[in-house]
């Protein structure tokens, strides 16, 4: 099976190298020190918190926005195809480029966001969205909602379309309200799809790099420094290859643990 050999070569071998690196000293020899250092590294702890806020915030908002739009698209509206295509557009843009688009929209003086909010009277001074340590992370999350909701929306829409119409008709005969229908038919039917959407989205969001790199590069200070950025900097800015490998392994373990139920469910279905 040469194909399997190839898999081992392009994936297995680098992983072994990463593990070996994380257990090495810069000048050779084995050590656990790279891992032992982690709890004391305040930048790592910060990065861990930022990552969880970023992933949690974006996944939750993708789900809420995606679900609302999927419901609207599932209603009997005209021009469904058109709206569906438009709603998918942001997903088609590479995240590096959506980061650039939003960075300029957030521009304090020349950006459209301040301009609109100023003329609506919502704010009365130029707000430094990406330069303010309290606003930077929410601003990045908000930009990512635009980029990331379509994927969740598409999965949920597929789920909504698979719910048998008879269930709603039966509920109507029984005189159920729209809210009751939603609670007792839509939500139970959608449970599986929601789990799949959240699982896949979470994995993608843990890997997110280009968007944040181009919006803030982790700043101001380290308030938007997600783990993938921190690992990158440890590797290629500070050249701590061994320490960077250890952080990357911790990130990988977090992701594997989180995705274990999903992987297990998929394999069981085989």
């Amino acid at each position: 099976m040469p194909a399997l050999l190839m898999l081992v070569l392009v994936l297995g071998f680098p992983i072994v190298v990463a593990v070996v690196n994380s257990l090495s000293l810069p000048d050779g020899g084995w050590t656990l020190e790279n891992y032992a250092k982690l709890p004391q590294d305040s930048r790592f702890r910060n990065s861990l918190v930022v990552t969880f806020i970023f992933v949690g915030g974006t996944v939750l908002l993708h789900l809420i926005v995606g679900f609302i739009i999927a419901l609207a698209l599932n209603a009997s509206v005209k021009g469904k195809r058109f709206f569906r295509v438009v709603a998918i557009l942001p997903w088609a843009v590479p995240d590096v480029i959506s980061g650039l688009m939003w960075r300029f929209m957030y521009n304090p003086t020349a950006g459209i966001i301040n301009r609109v909010l100023l003329s609506l009277g919502v704010i009365n001074t130029y707000v430094e969205w990406l330069g303010d340590s309290d606003l930077a992370l929410p601003s990045v999350i908000f930009a990512d909602v635009w980029r990331g909701y379509p994927f969740v929306m598409l999965i949920l829409l597929a789920g909504l379309q698979a719910i048998p119409g008879e269930q709603y008709e039966a509920a109507k005969v029984d005189g159920a309200s729209t809210i009751q229908e939603f609670r007792h038919i839509t939500i139970p039917n959608m449970r599986g799809m929601i789990l799949i959407a959240v699982a896949l989205d979470t994995i993608w969001q843990f890997r997110r790099f280009g968007l944040v790199f181009n919006m803030t590069a982790g700043g101001p200070g380290n308030v938007t420094e997600i783990l993938s950025l921190y690992v990158y900097k440890q590797y290629f800015r500070y050249f701590n290859f061994e320490y960077a490998a250890a952080i990357a392994i911790v990130l990988a373990i977090i992701m594997l643990l989180l995705s274990l139920p999903y992987v297990r469910a998929m394999v069981r279905r085989l």
């Binding site: 099976m1 190839m6 898999l7 392009v10 994936l11 680098p14 992983i15 190298v17 690196n21 609302i68 419901l71 609207a72 698209l73 209603a75 509206v77 295509v85 438009v86 998918i88 557009l89 997903w91 088609a92 590479p94 590096v96 480029i97 688009m101 300029f104 929209m105 003086t109 020349a110 459209i112 301009r115 635009w146 994927f151 999965i155 597929a158 109507k172 799949i196 896949l200 994995i203 890997r207 790099f209 790199f213 181009n214 590069a217 783990l227 993938s228 690992v231 990158y232 290859f241 490998a245 990357a248 990130l251 990988a252 594997l256 989180l258 995705s259 992987v263 998929m266 394999v267 085989l270």
Partner: protein
């Protein structure tokens, strides 16, 4: 019954109207900015649409800048990755789909799990490996590295497509004297052609949008891709927004066109069979 639905429909239209505004605005802002002069783009307060529309920014990046080289590099690397990864993925997918061997379930689990690995775990080792064998800053090196990211997806997607081909068909071919490889080439390949196309495009898009790997595995202008080139423009001291937005616009076009043409396939691929209950 129709009447009772009415308020819901109105709400749906309102939501869809807002969605339209929300999704389109960033695109319009990008296009408008790309058509402004350098001064107008940073005017305070900003103008909404260009007062004197000009394609100066496009001319600057396309004729005087290195953008065409970046575009060519992105195309070569993404296309190379897509073809290589789909070829190997289809063989691996064929193996997983048709041959029962010991540890098959475990291996499939490993492939699935390897999709969950963060890219930053692999960039360090790849930097070392490619430097050692002299493939740093080369097309083959980048294609190989990207394949590490796309191959698990490609394998999983193609396994799904091959699963949907009835096994009796390749059995029939084998009775006619085909080898497993022959059955694969003559029977399965033509049937999964649409799936192959989807997989090729999916890998292409993953590679096209990447920044991390090119950042780490290239140096200088020679191997710069669109994403990396734009990133360099934005980290410069003076950012020329119309040029940056013109570049973003052109850089986003290939994926936009591919997504629009193949959205159904891609959704199926992204969710990798998960949606099929």
């Amino acid at each position: 019954m129709k009447r009772r639905l009415q308020p819901g429909i109105i709400i749906a239209y309102v939501i869809l109207g807002l969605v339209l505004l929300y999704t389109i605005t960033p695109f319009l802002w990008m296009i408008f900015t790309s058509l402004k002069t350098d001064q107008e783009a940073v005017a305070i307060p900003p103008t909404l649409w260009p007062q004197e529309p000009t394609i100066e920014a496009y001319i600057q990046i396309l004729i005087w800048g290195n953008f065409p080289i970046w575009f060519l590099n992105s195309t070569i690397i993404s296309l190379g990755t897509a073809l290589f990864s789909t070829m190997i993925g289809s063989f691996a997918g064929y193996g997983f789909s048709r041959f029962g061997f010991r540890g098959r379930a475990t291996l499939i689990g490993i492939i699935l799990a390897s999709q969950m690995l963060p890219g930053v775990l692999l960039v360090g080792p790849y930097f070392k490996m490619l430097s050692t064998v002299g493939l740093y800053n080369t097309y083959p090196g980048l294609i190989l590295a990207f394949t590490a990211i796309t191959l698990p997806f490609s394998t999983w997607m193609l396994k799904g497509f091959i699963d949907s081909v009835p096994e009796e068909l390749d059995d029939a071919a084998k009775i006619d004297g085909c080898t497993p490889l022959g059955a694969y080439l003559k029977v399965i390949l033509p049937l999964i052609a649409p799936g192959m196309v989807a997989t090729v495009i999916f890998a292409f898009l993953l590679a096209w949008g990447d920044l991390l790997w090119v950042l780490v595995l290239t140096s200088g202008e020679k191997m710069t891709t669109v994403t990396l080139g734009l990133t360099r423009l934005v980290t410069q001291f003076r950012i020329i927004w119309p040029q940056l937005m013109a570049g973003s616009m052109i850089g986003a076009l290939p994926p936009l066109i591919l997504y629009l043409l193949l959205q159904n396939y891609l959704v199926e691929g992204m969710t990798a069979g998960a949606v099929k209950e």
